[in-house]
Symmetry: none
DNA sequence: CTATCTGATAATTCATAGTTATTAAATACT
DNA sequence: AGTATTTAATAACTATGAATTATCAGATAG
């Protein structure tokens, strides 16, 4: 009759929304299929909104259902985070902060941040995860991540973006490439080489910047390969499958038969920024941001 | 045993946290005091954290409880907001509709539709794209577009077609063409001129109709150029590369040295229809269709 | 045309939220 | 001090409704 929505409904709903299959979803939840059916139907009744379209043999989300899926993911993630923090507070610790970062941030900003954090707030737990720009933004919006380190110039509404590290770019060449640092004058000298770049969708900002560097030099690069990890890019260069242009900081931390030539003269810079949700409720976050801005 | 937190717990918790008095909180919730006591206790068990300090006669929040109070308020508010939005989406008052149109629809139907839509459903977002007939049909079938505006007499199965605007045709002549509106009697007078038409595959319906107009007049037109954009057609006419026959509405909105002679007597009409997928589940779509049919 | 999927329905069971009745402890008032 | 009145917690019970089993009807595949 006059039921109320419960978290149980959300968990059931999410399972169906993910599987788009009642029996499979029910199995995953360790309940019976009829039970799941009635609960979802009840949920639709409470919300007075149809969430799924079932035309025998196919289950799909309605636009409303699709919207709710995003919200439910957010609510459940937020709740999970709240539970963890609650327990830490109960135990006298302070909390946890979940940080995402691009692989290229591991060389400088992240280690410093972690050391400082550990020193100032010894009871703060940190969880670290290497993710693409896009994945970080999505995780932050869904409250799966508190702080991200990305290379982007714009972020969706509701998120804050603050540059924290500016780096020059460097040319990456096979160790035995004819061009040497002392002979180097301009990247025009490698205009005809094949280029290996980070995937456009891993970091569109980086991609555009590298193209603009080449454009400024008066040529359009021949992109032979795209990759996601610096490791892979360097390996490809080492094997003479092409050359690359990457943030200079990446030269540290890899053991490869490649040489770096820093492009000091060009105006473009690799900018690493931190992102977070403006209305994030994690009390640890503000401390973390303040700390970083002082670095 | 192995209970799960439910929203009920949060609502009960909040009542106690506000009243700091079990009996009063229970009254407010219309449940009995022992029931409330056990639920709160159960909650503390699930969260493995003490939330209240009860030293007989006084109830206080622990620091953890204080933190949780803020979070619960946030979650319940967010949930309330989500429920409201969900209902709006379900009713089609909130959401997005993706509209495709032929350039020639931009003069009349589209602006009116958009204005009306904005007025009636201010929270609906629209995405607009100028596309050929063919491209619109293909996009609608793939669910990349919700609504299209085309000049076609038939559409593939599963799509619905509804005429929304009927227009006469007009002859388009260079400004200094010998033929004037007052001397005009029949298009036979321009039977020997070269014709510029919209490409057959941009709008086969239009193409056939123009041919039939000429046929009815007893001649077969000399087609010198074909183009996709009205802009281009008019430019070609302006430069005396030929004359054209286009829907009359196109005479507005272009700054060209051409003159229009409306073909009032001929029976053919330029019919603009809207197309959509019969089983499209976007709730905004139906509202949009209803609105247009009333126009 | 049968076999095998799908989700929905109906009847039933069973867990548990919430009930009433009561208790123990703390304060307030003669 | 002794009684009255308050508090939340405990115990025994009830009744709501979540979840189960059994079954059905429609869709698809072989």
């Amino acid at each position: 009759m006059n039921y109320q929505i419960e978290l149980r409904h959300f968990i059931y709903f999410l399972a169906v929304a993910e599987e788009l299959h009642y029996r499979k979803a029910a199995e995953k939840l360790f309940i019976s299929q009829p039970g799941l059916s009635t609960q979802i139907k009840q949920m639709e009744g409470i919300l007075q909104t149809q969430l799924f379209i079932r035309d025998k043999k196919k289950v799909r989300l309605t636009p409303a259902g699709d919207f709710l899926k995003g919200e439910v993911e957010f609510i459940l993630n937020h709740l999970e985070q709240t539970k963890k923090q609650l327990k830490l507070i109960g135990e006298g610790h302070l909390g946890e902060i979940r940080i995402g970062f691009l692989g290229s941030a591991m060389q400088n900003v992240i280690p410093n941040l972690l050391l400082d954090l550990k020193e100032k707030f010894p009871f703060i737990h940190t969880s670290l995860e290497e993710l693409s720009n896009k994945a970080q933004i999505s995780a932050i919006l869904r409250d799966k991540l508190d702080l991200g380190f990305v290379r982007l110039s714009r972020v969706p509404k509701g998120l804050k973006l603050k540059p924290v590290f500016e780096d020059t770019f460097s040319l990456v060449l096979p160790a035995d490439h004819i061009l040497n640092e002392k002979d180097f004058k301009s990247i025009n000298q490698v205009a005809t080489d094949d280029f290996i770049l980070f995937s456009q969708d891993y970091s569109p900002q980086y991609y555009d910047t590298v193209l603009s560097i080449c454009e400024d030099a008066g040529f359009s690069p021949n992109v032979s390969h795209k990759s996601v990890h610096a490791q892979t890019v360097f390996k490809l260069v080492e094997n003479k499958l092409g050359i690359a242009i990457v943030p200079t900081a990446l030269q540290y931390g890899f053991q490869m038969k490649v040489k770096f030539i820093e492009l000091k003269k060009i105006k473009q810079r690799a900018i690493l920024s931190m992102v977070w949700k403006e209305d994030n409720r994690n009390p640890v976050l503000q401390n973390c941001i303040d700390l970083l801005l002082k670095l």
